[in-house]
């Protein structure tokens, strides 16, 4: 059997996808390695959607084509509830730099909207349709919010693995850096609902609510990111009109986690 030739790309040579979220880029040593698929995971109200959308807006401002696939709620409703960014420009949507697609529309086109469980063929078709959107739109940044909701209709671990693995492979091959939003309950001892997503993803950004003496702090921690050195410390974040801001979590007091 012929041996496969491997190309090793040292850390310093990997092109970065600068998120534009200054604190996160600092944590990641310059940004997400281009083509990585990152699981942004956390319970509700931790800022996953806001962070992901800001990642796309900065990409669009830098001239990259960006796509947001909304699974759980209509994009229009989601946009109305998001923090109004000072740096947002309507032209990004008018010029097609920032696209929104609702996953139920894709399901509807495939005539599987009301199915409780998808087959392997249907899963492959979903990946193909997303791949087509990325290919035709020359999409460089993609967010799927949330991948947990897609997995809800896949049921088995095998199907979930198949879907996520294929999706990530396809996106990476196209040089598309992606964020897959994952929803977990606060008590969950792992980073994803099914446990499969976290093993396959190139990166895991954990967002949480930390209770400290009755105060509830929004936190962010990069648990894993292939292709770069990064901080693994916990940071506190604020969602503001100038974007997501991060500062280190102070360690001097007693912490309840």
């Amino acid at each position: 059997m012929a041996e496969k030739q491997l190309t090793i790309v040292p850390d310093r040579k990997r092109e970065r996808c600068v998120t534009g979220i200054e604190g996160l880029d600092t944590i990641l040593n310059g940004g997400i390695p281009r083509g990585n698929s990152v699981l942004v995971t956390g319970s509700c109200g931790t800022g996953k959607t806001t962070l992901s959308l800001e990642f796309l807006v900065h990409g669009a401002l830098q001239g990259e084509n960006c796509l947001f696939i909304s699974v759980t709620e209509a994009s229009e409703k989601m946009l109305n509830n998001i923090v109004p960014y000072d740096f947002f420009e309507d032209r990004l949507i008018d010029e097609g730099k920032l696209l929104f697609v609702d996953m139920p529309d894709i399901y509807d086109e495939m005539d599987i909207l009301h199915k409780s469980e998808f087959s392997f063929e249907e899963i492959n078709e979903i990946v193909e349709r997303i791949s087509d959107l990325v290919e035709k739109g020359n999409i460089k940044r993609l967010v799927v919010d949330s991948v947990t909701s897609v997995c809800f209709q896949l049921k088995t671990e095998e199907k979930i693995r198949d879907f996520i693995l294929n999706l990530m492979k396809t996106l990476s091959a196209k040089g598309c850096t992606s964020i897959l939003v994952s929803e977990i309950s606060p008590e969950e001892p792992r980073y994803s609902l099914y446990g499969v997503e976290e093993a396959i993803a190139d990166g895991i950004v954990m967002m949480g609510n930390l209770e400290r003496q009755g105060d509830l702090l929004r936190t962010l921690q990069v648990v894993k990111m292939r292709g770069t050195e990064h901080s693994r410390a916990k940071y506190v974040l604020d969602l503001t009109p100038v974007g997501v801001l991060l500062v280190p979590l102070l360690k001097g007091g007693g912490l309840e986690d």
């Binding site: 000072d86 702090l217 974040l237 604020d238 100038v242 801001l245 500062v247 280190p248 001097g252």
Partner: protein, 188 residues
């Protein structure tokens, strides 16, 4: 030691990025606020981010308004009103932090205001280390001031930390000595 009337002259000699503790007699409190928010910033290029955990921002605003002090370039971070269940109505130029124990959010609001209102020069007032010390352990307070002051130095931003002379303690003096370039004693 300087009188509150001489303070602004002294402050104007500071290098950008300086961190100064202002240890004042409690009688000089409102004069000190006036000196910092009016005389020190009169060059028109400076923004002041005033973080209060002592009295609500609204009270300070009322004082400044009564004295007819222009406050377009003064932005407040109020970490006391929520905790005291005081009104947090949408006062112009005030951002709120839920509690003085949420020190990270004080840093985040300062960062936000620095980005939101860019200016040639910036000064951040911490009013006061004593009120923060009521609600926070000294270790976390020292860590907070160390990170905040280091960050503000990178912006060439002045940091002015209020300390009430009547409430001084060895622990607070040690923290101030660690993070500040100078401690100025201010009398009425």
């Amino acid at each position: 030691m300087v009188t509150v009337n001489e303070l602004s002259k002294k402050l104007k000699t500071l290098e950008p990025g300086s961190a100064i503790a202002l240890k004042f007699d409690v009688d000089a409190y409102f004069e000190l606020i006036t000196s910092v928010c009016d005389d020190f910033v009169k060059n028109g290029k400076m923004n002041v981010i005033y973080t209060t955990s002592t009295i609500p921002a609204e009270s300070i605003i009322n004082v400044l308004d009564a004295l007819e002090i222009e406050r377009d370039s003064i932005h407040f971070t109020d970490a006391v009103s929520y905790m005291t269940m005081a009104s947090t109505g949408r006062s112009k130029g005030v951002t709120f932090v839920e509690s003085p124990t949420m020190l990270e959010y004080i840093m985040l609001k300062v960062e936000y205001l620095l980005r939101k209102y860019p200016a040639e020069e910036n000064a951040v007032v911490i009013d006061s280390i004593n009120s923060l010390a009521i609600h926070n352990d000294n270790r976390i307070l020292a860590e907070f001031l160390h990170i905040l002051v280091s960050n503000l130095r990178s912006y060439d931003c002045y940091t002015l930390i209020f300390a009430v002379a009547e409430q001084e303690s060895e622990d607070i003096d040690n923290i101030l000595a660690m993070v500040c370039d100078d401690i100025i004693e201010v009398t009425a």
